[in-house]
Symmetry: C2
Subunit: 181 residues, 2 copies
């Protein structure tokens, strides 16, 4: 319901709802473009903590359950919690407070998350997103990496029926799993 | 060698080499950021025919053979040919000359390429990149879709040993195949 209407005590309003409802249409769903504005409104727009449209698309794709590529308020709250955790990891591994993470710091972050990547796979992840002569990962790209690793790993695990790190995938599943993030 | 030096006839210089060498460093390799500038210099910077950094990263990932996420001149020429083909498809399917393609036009383009996607997979591909209330695909995103479909399909096919549309993948391979584009 709309906050602040009616008599008596105001309902306990989730402060996040304000940011969300400012951009959500009547259907209560937001698109990647709207999520970008929403996160800006919520304080992620200052300086280097800005999200590209691409990263917002990844966030929507990760939490999209019904395949409409929109985000409801429940998913937005879930995203908010994940963002806080990832941001904490980012600041923790960025020991020299450079504002970006280097190869070693990204490696540490991925270990913190618990993903077990071969040196070859880690190299792909790092180089895919590294800037400035392949030395640094920005905050926006760090979140992109975090979103994709989580979503891809979850989808793979669901098909890894023997829990042995391999899965039989159809071409169609492979395209869907890869394209959604 | 450098064009236009020495006596006698000038060597037959590939005009593309000029764009490439203008941004390539001494090692003759270009990064995604350099590719973005290179394609701008070659005429892809005007109006809506501009490439985002993300799409340039995808282009590098698709043609990256040695895992260094850089592009040599041979790969650049290969990319140039692919871009011309994709651009031709884009203009062909954009019948109403709107400058963007809609869902039906994207479907036709993918059929032209020869990929056989289920309605569900096509829906993921379209919605992942659709803008403006999920109605249109821009040129930049169209190229992103083309690059990812080609690269993912090629990598999958290499693991589809029985050529029956299924493949056994390890978690590590799945992450590498998905992350490189």
């Amino acid at each position: 319901g709309a906050p602040g209407t009616g008599y008596g005590y105001p309902p306990a309003v989730d402060p996040l709802f304000g940011y969300f409802s400012a951009v959500a249409g009547r259907d209560g769903q937001i698109s990647p473009e709207e999520l970008q504005r929403c996160l800006q409104g919520a304080g992620y727009g200052n300086g280097w903590e800005t999200f590209s449209l691409e990263t917002c698309r990844l966030m929507i794709g990760m939490l999209d359950r019904d395949g409409n590529f929109q985000m409801g308020f429940e998913e937005f709250k879930e995203l908010w919690n994940s963002l806080n955790q990832w941001k904490h990891t980012y600041y923790t591994v960025d020991r020299d407070r450079s504002g970006t993470v280097n190869e070693q710091e990204l490696h540490q972050a991925i270990r913190t998350y618990g993903y077990n990547l071969s040196p070859e796979a880690f190299r792909v992840v790092f180089k895919r997103y590294a800037r400035r002569e392949q030395t640094i990962i920005t905050f926006d790209d760090f979140i992109a990496v975090s979103v994709r690793l989580r979503c891809l790993s979850e989808n793979f695990r669901r098909r890894d029926t023997h829990q042995n790190g391999t899965a039989m995938l159809s071409y169609d599943e492979f395209i869907r799993f890869s394209f959604v993030v």
